[in-house]
Amino acid sequence: MAIRCPGLLAEGDRGDEVRAFLLVLRAAEQLCPWVTPARLGVCTLPARGPSRLLGGEPAVVDALAAEIASACPEVEVQIGVAPGLFGAQLAARVAAVVGDAELADFLAPWSIAVLGRAELATTLPRLGVRTLGELAALPARQVYERFGADALSCHRAASGQVGELPGLRDLAISARLATVAGVSRPSVLQPDFYGGADAAGERAAAAVTRLQGRFGPEAVAIARHRGARDPAARGRLVPFGSEEPLGEPGSGPWPGRLPAPSPTSVLERPRPAAVADVVGRPLAVGAEGLLDGVPDRCAVDGGPWRSVEEWGGPWPVLEHFWSTPRRRARLQLVLEGGVAILVCFEQGNWVLEAVYD
């Protein structure tokens, strides 16, 4: 779901647009805490949860519109629903609710101008391609070979395969909003944070700049602990100098449900694992959150079985009431040799999530 404020998309001299956008975000948050600014004037929020509560997406749209209108009556607001930010922004322009299956058809008639690519907007019409649907109809390979990688991203967005398009988001918007809101952002590096020259910080920043020059901007990272919204929220590495939007709460409030100490190795991509009892039967966690057997051995990524010496849990992972229901449960295992790991069970499968290294 996207909320689009046509009057706030460009910033004037006085910063009024950012302040107004902040009010819109706060109003939307009354209905759903997981509002995410995408760029100035545009924000997204997950539609499924509130729509389950309110009885359908149109009801959510109405409720949001009412909430925002009462908080900031002078701001023009457009709201739309579609999978992915690219589609949702367009849906907002015409106040549409677009389901997953309808996305490609919804996108088709729009002009290629909405991609925001000046060169493609000049070249494609000469080849008879004027709409997203006509672009999507071209073979992807030809688009790539003729126009390059960015055009391929446009092709994917136009066909509804991918919901994001480079350039749609302004990564710095959260920092701008925080500044205007007067909220401190402890995890964001600001070289002038101490209000004056910090020689060590400047040396570090210079080394980072050189590193980024040689390894790419994504290669150097800083840790971000999302303490603000959820005290136990998962932390992650973010590229040095960027400010990422908080995004969807996909992984839930973890490791808050598990007490400290936290694991020192948290896998960005959990690996498939197997947990079995003494006769080799795979274990499962039932609907009531209990193991259906005694863990005796564990294997990760098709590797050798290692015997389980001790275990704790399982702990059901609690999701927010408005998110898509996922029944997950976590188990701590101590394997032979004293190796402590965290595995998670969901729909018949175990994955290795973390190692207490």
């Binding site: 944070f193 920043a205 992650r236």
Partner: protein, 227 residues
């Protein structure tokens, strides 16, 4: 400086607060601060600039915890730290260990160019933790050690096997054994890990120093477990 849009101007901190948050690190000190629980493993002093410390142990028994703890007091005191080749670091764990994550720079996946990244970081950080993916070539190790000395930075090498670092470090800490308290068979949870850490001198000879540490203790920090 590196953001894609102009950084907004920040109002200066109130003087009293500025005084409290100003880093107390000094470039002239010969020693970098260490967490109190680690001091006995370093002869009671801090971590000498220009030295190499090797931290070894099989995966999953606490060596990573020990290596990350090497950064806690230094980063908290205002020293910048770099971490190279350590993928998937646990952010909550690092916070619990006391690291000031505002001053820790990560290059988690440098691939084959990890030593290049480490060498670069010596220019910007006082402490660099590296986790080589495999055995380190002699020439590479020599280059890093001499760069660390020249830059007066401390090098910490995390490895599964001390033999992978071809030069004799000033100090090598090996996690020999560990056991968890708090879990049983289905009851409780991982509450604290008690580990035995052996300190090796040069050429791998044991100094016959074995220390008991909580790696970590209940709230996630590293503590002395002696007695």
């Amino acid at each position: 400086m590196f953001a894609s849009s102009p950084t907004p101007a920040r109002p200066p901190l109130p003087a009293a607060l500025a005084e409290r948050v100003r880093p107390v690190a000094t470039a002239s000190s010969r020693l970098l601060p260490l967490a109190p629980a680690l001091l006995p493993l370093f002869g009671g002093a801090g971590l000498q600039r220009g030295t190499t410390t090797c931290i070894a142990g099989p995966v999953g028994v606490g060596a990573r915890t020990l290596a990350l703890t090497m950064l806690s007091a230094a980063s908290a005191a205002g020293h910048w730290c770099g971490v190279v080749g350590l993928a998937d670091p646990g952010v909550s764990a690092m916070v619990e260990l006391g690291l000031d994550l505002r001053r820790v720079v990560f290059v988690p996946s440098p691939g084959g160019r990890w030593s290049e990244a480490a060498a670069e970081l010596f220019d910007g950080a006082d402490l660099v933790l590296i986790r080589p993916a495999g055995p380190v070539a002699h020439g590479v190790a020599r280059l890093l050690v001499s760069r660390a000395r020249e830059r007066r930075a401390a090098l910490v090498v995390l490895t599964t096997d001390p033999a992978r670092w071809p030069l004799g470090p000033e100090r090598c800490l090996v996690v020999r054994s560990s056991s968890w308290v708090g879990v049983d068979r289905g009851h409780g949870h991982l509450a604290a890990r008690r580990a035995e850490v052996e300190v090796l001198g040069r050429r791998g000879a044991s100094r016959r120093e074995r220390h008991q540490l909580w790696l970590p203790a209940r709230a996630g920090q590293v503590l002395d477990a002696a007695g």
